[in-house]
Symmetry: C2
Subunit: 124 residues, 2 copies
DNA sequence: CGGAATCCTGAGAGATACTG
DNA sequence: CAGTATCTCTCAGGATTCCG
């Protein structure tokens, strides 16, 4: 067997910043290049561009061009991309349950539902 | 906010080979250094050792020494480590649903339950 | 605005040999 | 058996500038 579904998924979302982009698309409804660039810490345009292209190629997102001036380009989750939400939520749930003291500065434990419903600014 | 639970989880399992080790512990019940070394493709002892130490430090696994001859050392999942199974399963489920043609050489779609119940040798 | 083009660096991985 | 010790090396990512 040359491939394993777990390994395969990891190859799609395991690179640096990919899950941050997904997270911001899912939880903050971000769609634009400079939104990602401004809100994801330490990312640079070259790397962001590379991640977006990879995600487009693997069918997680769709690149949509609006011919306005200035030009507007939006990155949107596909159905396949939206299906990753279950993984993202499980990742959040894990740290919320087992690492709340290191994850939340108020050290207050909270539920996944509480976290997902919180002000977007709580996200890094 | 300095930290995000999604990002925090990714830092714990995002490095190369970590999920492979977890997968083999969860689904194949492997516990020993040379089992991992032999079954995880392209891993070398230095990297394996590094990953195991990280996982021990973050509390995902426990290192247990048996003073026999030859010495036997087992790596066991902690409760915290076992809690990652939900993420691993979601990762498997995603590729099974959206990438079965690239993941399974027989190109036959199957359910997560079928995959988890299959012969361990199907895993890479 | 949404990138592309450069140049550059260093952390992390590969290979191999060795040891208690 | 379960690792450590080196050494090398690549390439992903960082910083910066520029373009349509």
């Amino acid at each position: 067997m040359k491939c394993c579904p777990i390994d395969n998924t990891f190859k799609m979302i395991g690179k640096k910043f990919t899950i941050h982009i997904l997270r911001n698309m899912m939880l903050q409804e971000q769609t634009r290049f400079n939104q990602f660039l401004d809100s994801i810490e330490n990312i640079n345009p070259k790397t962001l561009s590379a991640r977006l292209r990879e995600m487009e190629k693997t069918g997680l997102i769709e690149r949509r061009v609006f011919n306005e001036t200035p030009i507007r380009i939006e990155y949107l989750l596909t159905q396949k991309g939206k299906a990753l939400r279950a993984i993202i939520e499980q990742m959040a749930a894990f740290s919320i349950k087992y690492e709340s003291r290191t994850v939340f500065k108020d050290k207050k434990p909270r539920t996944l539902h509480q976290f997902l419903g919180e002000n977007p600014t709580v996200l890094k």
